[in-house]
Amino acid sequence: MASPIADLTYRNYDGPLEPPVNRWWAIAKMSMRLSIKKKGFWVWSVISAYWYLILLAVFYFVDSGSQAVAASGQQNPFFKNIVWKDQFLNGFATAQLLMFVLALMLGSGAIANDNRANALLVYLSKPCSKLDYVIGKWLGIFVLISLVSAVPSLIFYGYCLLSYRSYGFVSQDPWLIFRLLGMVLIPGFFHASVSLGISSLFQQGRLAGATYAAFYFFGLFFTKAMQSIVAVSDMNMATGSGGGAPDIVKNLYYCSVDGIQIALAKIFLHTDGSPLISPPGGIGAKFGVVPMPSFWIFVPAYFGICALFMILAWSRIRAVEVVG
């Protein structure tokens, strides 16, 4: 029972209030706080680093299994032939599907669930603009996906830096760390923008997720078809029975959710990519590899798509339904 002197009636708040600007940071913090509470986020984040884990294991066993070569003063041919930045490209490319799963988890319900629960009335009745809302939601997805993308890449970079400088890890590309820092932001930027745009069209996160998934897998199928054409053309060229794949096919390879991100990663890393271990002939083996695309086509296309979906999200945010 309350004390007879306890004042249980309403008291107005007269404490400090911050100026009514930049509410996006509060929204971003809360979005991230809710996302990291999901077990799935952590599970898929760990799984998305699987390629780096495989590489670390392979490198470790190759290293420790070739002590005799090292003792003779010769360089290990396995490491000698590696194009280091291509390993990061491979890690990036293999994580794409998992980044997409994370994007579905974090982004598909970001606005759709708020639409369902009329949460926009809560947000917009506070000193919080449409722009604050979109930026806050976008940042909440972008930061998490970028961190998931960055952590394994940077750990692998640190491991290689400490272990393989004598195999040209630094000398092959002294600016690799900066290229990597740019590359790890690609999926976060893209998925945050596209998933928000799609999410704003729906009242249910599941429907938004299904739509993005349809968009993603249709594009993936298209990409794989183009990749097959390139591979067959390369094989024909190697056997002398035909020419290489036309440039249009090589560009179309990048026309998907994964493709455009891989295109940008290649541009950032300034490489065409290569298999894990180059065949005899050393650095630069390119069989079946789609070359780096044009900067002037894909960088504007990437940012254009992101901007388009952000504008879509912004335009769909309303506190009230306005009928025409």
Binding site: A26, C128, V323
Partner: protein, 320 residues
């Protein structure tokens, strides 16, 4: 002091005019915004908050222009919307604290205040439950809590008793009444439920088809022209009636033993005459009150009038 003033406000949704040159003054205290469904009450609230841009006209809330100072207004105003609204995936305390942070409160203050407000709104025991699991009554309360958390100067309540059972409605009205009287908080309650408005508000603004129909204190609105008196007698007394009629009074028998009397001259003189006539005719007076109509009658009169607003003067400084 006036907390909000609206001048010739016109708001359109496409070709539909929701507010048609509305002008009104909202004084301090608790004011009811009355009108039938579709009258433009919610549109007025949304325009005040900057959700809808007016086509013409102007309005200022707490001295701030609604077009130029939307964010500053929203920091000083709390909205309890008509629809269910919450942020998915949050417990009540998280939700209310987050609403406080959105309004500009430091995180630690917002959390402390969220506990306080939830307790006050009767959700103390359920504060760690996910809001999505709440009953309708609890959802109404949490909407009130999120509107109150940052200590607004003006609270906008849109149909606060929607969907509540009688007990829940009583509780909600009691909550609204207690926050709106003597706590430095001004409240604008939008509703089409006259008993709710009469219970919690001192003044009303009647809106119909986007136009102002009446405004003033509830007491003024309920007044009847000519200031008649209701006299309740122990039993019907024809001698009393005829004596009054001989003195120029018009007498009606509105219900059982109560006569409604309208006399020429001052009310004090009328009282004296009535007492004298009662003494002379042997009628036993049990009640003597100034007659007033119900708020429902006043409301029906207001919305059926085609003339300019019937209301009394706004009297911004006064309380009922």
């Amino acid at each position: 002091m006036t907390i909000a003033s609206v001048h010739n406000l016109v708001v359109r949704y496409g070709h539909f005019t929701a507010l048609n040159g509305l002008s009104c003054e909202i004084p301090e205290g608790c004011t009811g915004l009355l009108g039938p469904n579709g009258a433009g009450k919610t549109t007025l609230l949304k325009t005040i908050l900057g959700f809808v841009k007016p086509v013409s006209g102007s309005a200022s809330i707490l001295g701030l222009d609604i077009v130029e100072a939307g964010n500053a207004i929203r920091q000083k105003v709390g909205l309890m919307p008509e629809q269910d609204c919450h942020i998915p995936g949050m417990t009540a305390v998280q939700f209310v604290a987050y609403a406080g942070e959105l309004a500009g409160m430091p995180a630690s203050q917002a959390l402390r205040r969220a506990h306080e407000v939830l307790d006050y709104c009767g959700l103390g025991e359920a504060r760690y439950r996910n809001v999505e699991t709440y009953s309708t009554g609890m959802k109404q309360r949490i909407k009130l809590a999120q509107a109150l958390v940052h200590g607004p100067k003006l609270l906008l309540l849109d149909e606060p008793t929607n969907g509540l059972d009688p007990a829940g409605r009583e509780d909600m009205l009691e909550l609204v009444r207690s926050v709106s009287h003597g706590k430095g908080l001004n409240v604008l309650v939008s509703s089409h439920l006259l008993p709710d408005i009469e219970r919690v508000c001192d003044r009303v603004i009647v809106v119909m088809k986007g136009e102002l129909k009446a405004q003033g204190t509830i007491k003024d609105l309920k007044k009847i022209e000519g200031q008649p008196i209701d006299i309740e007698l122990r039993e019907l007394c024809p001698g009393f009636v005829s004596a009054l009629q001989s003195k120029g009074a018009s007498v009606m028998l509105p219900k059982r033993t109560t006569y409604r009397i309208q006399m020429p001259g001052l009310p004090e003189d009328a009282a004296q005459i009535v007492m004298q006539v009662a003494k002379d005719s042997g009628a036993q007076i049990r009640g003597f009150v100034q007659a007033e109509r119900s708020l429902e009658d006043a409301f029906m009169d207001a919305i059926s009038s085609v003339s300019p607003p019937i209301a009394s003067s706004p009297n911004p400084g006064g309380n009922a």
